[in-house]
Amino acid sequence: MASAQTNIDLSSNTAATATGGLLVNLVSLPQEAFEATLSNLALAFPGETVLVATPDTAPQLSADSPLRLIPYTPTTVSSAPWILTAADYLNAFKLAQENRAATCLLLGAESQSLQPEALRALAKSALSVDLTVAHYDLGPREGLVNSAILYPVTRALFGTRPRFPLAIDLGLSLRMANRLAATAQRFTAASQDDSFIWPLSEAATANFTIAEVSIGRRTIPQPVAPDLNSLLAQIAGSLFADVDAKASFWQRARGTQPTQTIPQTASVTETPDTAPMLDAFRLAYTNLHEIWSLVLPPNSLLGLKKLSVLHPENFRMPDNLWARIVYDFILAYRLRTINRGHLLGALTPLYLAWVASHLTLIHTGTAPEKHIQDLASAFETDKPYLVSRWRWPDRFNP
């Protein structure tokens, strides 16, 4: 873990005053990807001087290049390069502060796939809004954890619209970067540099402005060792902890999200292979029923029982059942009904059941994005259920 001080390019201080304060913070990239990113940035901001902070070896740029490279050594290093972690937010704020940048673009791994138009749109939005979140065009089989859990929960509880709460491309105002860095500091101080930060909930609780910018197709980096069990436990656990910490905020009444235009997504033509997921769910239903009964109320258990006997082609998990399952797991996380590691492990088969249901549904012709929006609406509709169980966990148990 690096502990050296951040290096400052003194020549960039004057440039920072002249740029209008835009700092682009890159994560460590391979050489070719880094050069491609620089090319895209130069195309995105012609005639402007932009500060680009990078932990990689900075190449020599031509004198007429609009980019001013700031090589730096991160004070904290993340070991999960596929996603933004506490270490990245802390580094970004420190650089923005040291270079007196009013706006910061934080770009995740594989940033060479971001088109110049997308970079420009992010930067333009970041000038007037505290938090700008990227919207990605994903296929119907991609970003399933986000569709199943992250987006519906964040939208229902915090009243935020952006589709990707854990987006890896963000535009931050200085005060937004400060707030995220303050949150990240608590984790890095406890040597938890790879902890996740949830920008949308932070912005919502601080009453900062939020915007979402469509950036089209992008190469989404994948974890090196994609073990679904451990990653789902890590991400869901972080989200549940964040929800627990901000309970006093989301329990106050919030308006529902306005209807938004559902973007066209590619239809699914091939038959989904849901057999492994359904087998995993049925095996879990047989073996984990006792553990689920500690967390889920009788109604939800009955719903799961009905699911366990359905044929694959008719396998359909109702949206409100999934919403209540997620809410019950959030509540159990807070109450420590069972060990948290066990709780999150028991969530995986239920998530796989949802995925199987989702794939089966979209194979019948339902637009994937429409299903996700309907699911998010179900989460919003059942929010009073979570609030009631949160306040009276022993008395309210439907």
Binding site: W82, R141, E142, G143, L144, V145, N146, R186, F187, A190, Q192, S195, I220, Q222, P223, P226, L228, N229, L231, L232, I235, A245, E270, T271, P272, D273, P276, D279, A280, L283, A284, T286, N287, L288, I291, L335, R336, T337, I338, N339, R340, G341, H342, G345, A346, T348, P349, V355
Partner: protein
Amino acid sequence: MWQQVELALRQSAQQVLVKLASFLPGLFALLLAVVILSAIGAGLSSLLRRSLVAAKFDERLARNATTTISDWSPSHSPTQLLARVVFWACVLIGCFIGLSAFDAAYPGGSPVSVFIFPYLTHSIGAVLLLIAGSLIARFLERSVLIGAVNAKLQYARFLSLGIKWLVLVLTAAMVLDHLQIGGAVVELAFGILFGGIVLTLALAVGLGSRDIVSRSLERSADHRSTLDPIPGDPDYKASPAESLRHF
């Protein structure tokens, strides 16, 4: 002769009554110490709980630390944990004071106090061992069950029960050994039982996994011998499982 029998009986009864009379004050002192210290513990615990609730101890701890004490005490707040620690500490102190009073009240050099006092401390240790072993067995059972289910092992429940009974048998053997009950018989029985459970689990896992292992070996052999298209080739077609991206 009957007079001598009567005299012997009267003398032995008198001796027993004297011993009982000397035993009772010590026992009464023991019970009194435990009861008084338990009452003091309950009072202190209640006072501490009220003070910590008034000072919002739980909220301050949760706000300032990413991991809290309550992570290690399932379904209880740190306030509750501290209050119970104080209560049981007082009960334990009461037990020690009571035992010391019992030992002091009993005639010195008597074989009863020499045996009872160490055995009581061993008993407390054995009870603690039993509690710890049970908790560990339950935790491991659940961990193995969830892990095996997520790994799609059909014998997940069997495996978890085996682990649980392994730990429980080990705990029972340790408790009996600590209480010095059974001696070599317990050790032998434990060895046979433990070895039997391990052998059963090994056979079950080995026999149950042979299909998986043979399929895996076949797949490895086929992969080396055939020229399958690799990702990037025009003929490559991702399997449905590979094209599914959860993140």
